[in-house]
């Protein structure tokens, strides 16, 4: 009997293990892969408060930050038209984002584009009676509405940046159509690639904390293509194009600088240590880049200019953007220094080389600055901060893939707009200035 009992024990043990299996298994739930509904107590009020503030800061970057930055640099006869472009794009992209943009960018679908589950924000929930609220899988401690708004401000500023490349010569109606198509066919897909966990670049491990590729390389590539397609302004290279008011430009640059804390630190989607680090490295890289640009200008031209200082600061802001959640102070210093010199060359030597009339140096600063930042993220990313290893090759793939896609798609969209309605104002309207010819308004 004892032998029989001994023979039964392994079998009994196996049976017991089988029965107990589910109790012993790891019961950690899988990470959500799509927006989902949760209870109100899961929302972190500190994170939410910070994200609400960040959203406002980033919107200020476009209106009035970018509006002033650009308007101050164009000729007097185009100031109103230039400012109106930023304002109009804000309104336009807001509606498009809510209708379909957010869904295409931030819902799972394919590695290339999101789905339609959030068209017109269907499924976004806030029900106080039932204690339910929807959150995004990419930021589950804040209401989904807050993430929608925050990402909207990024979707707004990216096309607004492009406007600097075709300043002083694009027809207003053509601009509206181009920006509408661009934000849905270029911005939304690239945002999906990089920031939606299922996107092909995100899955590859591409690190872009706040939009070096999604915003700056994207806008820079589109900008240079616009500059080529629209052609040079009449008198370019023969007449001086005097900036209307560089004090406007400085005011705009300062608003961009401060607003960028929302842009970078806000991309932590939490009020935490990473946000604090992102804010610190943003400030450091910006100041370093501004000083480096000024030093470069001093050495080459024996003077320091306000426009140079502002441009250097913006170059630093652009370059630190993809790296801001992943690098420490040493990385910030290095990125800022390289950006200051690199973007100076981008706006001067490279501009001459390319031969396009990129009116406000969108490619030279945002395109080149974005490339510098995206690639140097692969060099300076600190795993203790980022939580993951960066790969230089992956960063290069992300940067060049975005550059190529944005350039090609922008060209296609411009061709469609050109053939259907024309891109450029006529010579008369350009002489008169866009303020008067397009909008019937004038600065006396």
């Amino acid at each position: 009997m004892r032998q029989g009992a001994g023979m039964l024990r392994p079998g009994l043990a196996a049976l017991l293990l089988l029965a107990a299996g589910p109790l012993l298994a790891d019961d950690t739930p899988a990470a959500p892969t799509a927006p989902f509904v949760t209870t109100l107590d899961k929302i972190n009020s500190g994170d939410t408060a910070w994200m609400l503030a960040s959203t406002a800061l980033v919107l200020l970057m476009t209106i009035p930050g970018l509006a002033l930055f650009y308007a101050g640099m164009v000729r007097k006869k185009n100031v109103i038209g230039t400012a109106l472009q930023s304002f109009t794009i804000t309104c336009l992209v807001t509606v498009l984002w809510v209708v379909i943009g957010y869904s295409l960018a931030f819902t799972p679908g394919t590695p290339w584009i999101g789905g339609l589950s959030r068209v017109l924000l269907g499924g976004v929930t806030f029900d106080k009676n039932q204690n339910l609220i929807s959150v995004s899988h990419v930021a589950s401690t804040i209401p989904e509405t807050v993430l929608i708004m925050f990402q909207l401000t990024f979707a707004i500023i990216t096309p607004a940046l492009i406007a600097g490349a075709f300043a002083e010569r694009m027809r207003f109606g053509a601009m509206v159509v181009f920006m509408s198509l661009w934000s849905l066919l270029v911005y939304a897909p690239v945002a999906h690639w990089v920031w939606e966990p299922g996107g092909w670049l995100a899955a590859m491990g591409d690190q872009d904390f706040a939009g070096g590729t999604v915003v700056h390389i994207n806008a820079g590539a589109a900008g240079i293509v616009c500059a080529y397609m629209l052609g040079k302004r009449h008198g370019y290279g023969r007449e001086p194009f005097i900036p209307y008011n560089l004090a406007f430009t400085m005011t705009g640059a300062a608003l961009l600088w401060v607003g960028w804390f929302g842009f970078n630190a806000g991309s932590a989607t939490a009020a935490d240590g990473r946000a604090g680090m992102a804010m610190l490295v943003t400030q450091l890289a910006t100041a370093t880049a501004a000083l480096t640009w000024m030093l470069t200008e001093w050495m080459l031209r024996m003077r320091v200019s306000l426009l140079g200082a502002c441009s250097g600061a913006v170059a630093g802001l652009v370059a630190i953007t993809p790296a801001s959640g992943f690098v420490d102070q040493f990385g910030a210093l290095a990125i800022g220094a390289v950006a200051g010199i690199g973007c100076y060359w981008g706006a001067t030597g490279l501009k001459k080389l390319l031969g396009a009339d990129d009116s406000l140096d969108v490619f030279g600063i945002h395109g080149i600055g974005g490339m510098i930042g995206a690639i140097l993220t692969g060099v300076f990313s600190n795993k203790a901060i980022s939580g993951a290893e960066a790969n230089l090759l992956t960063q290069c793939i992300g940067a060049f893939a975005t550059l190529g896609y944005s350039a090609v798609m922008s060209l296609l969209i411009l061709c469609v707009v050109k053939w259907t309605m024309g891109l450029r104002v006529d010579a008369e309207a350009e002489f008169t200035g866009l303020d008067l010819s397009q909008h019937g308004e004038q600065i006396p």
Binding site: R238, E239, F241, I242, L307, E428, F431, T432, L436
Partner: protein
């Protein structure tokens, strides 16, 4: 610089004439062709606007081969003229 000045004056006259009388002139041709420029100046001379008259006089001086007279800026009305070396910096580049 005379050609540059002619073009600049021609575009200013274009704006003035269009605003005051609705007349549209070819500013580029005016900067290149003396005969056309003289005819436009003859028409513009009948415009009572003092700024138009100033532009006409300056353009006529250029057609005469003399440097255009500089009108002193009235107090608080027109923005100060840009220094030549500042203006030079903004030809073909912004930064």
């Amino acid at each position: 610089m005379t050609q540059v000045e002619r073009f600049s004056l021609a575009t200013h006259l274009y704006v003035r004439l269009r605003r005051s009388s609705g007349r549209v002139v070819d500013a580029m041709w005016m900067a290149q062709n003396d005969e056309y420029a003289r005819e436009i100046l003859r028409l513009a001379a009948s415009d009572p606007d003092p700024e138009t008259q100033n532009l006409v006089q300056r353009f006529q001086a250029l057609l005469g081969g003399r440097p255009a007279p500089r009108k002193p800026a009235p107090a608080a009305a027109r923005p100060a003229s840009v220094e030549p070396d500042v203006a030079q910096h903004y030809i073909g580049t912004l930064r």
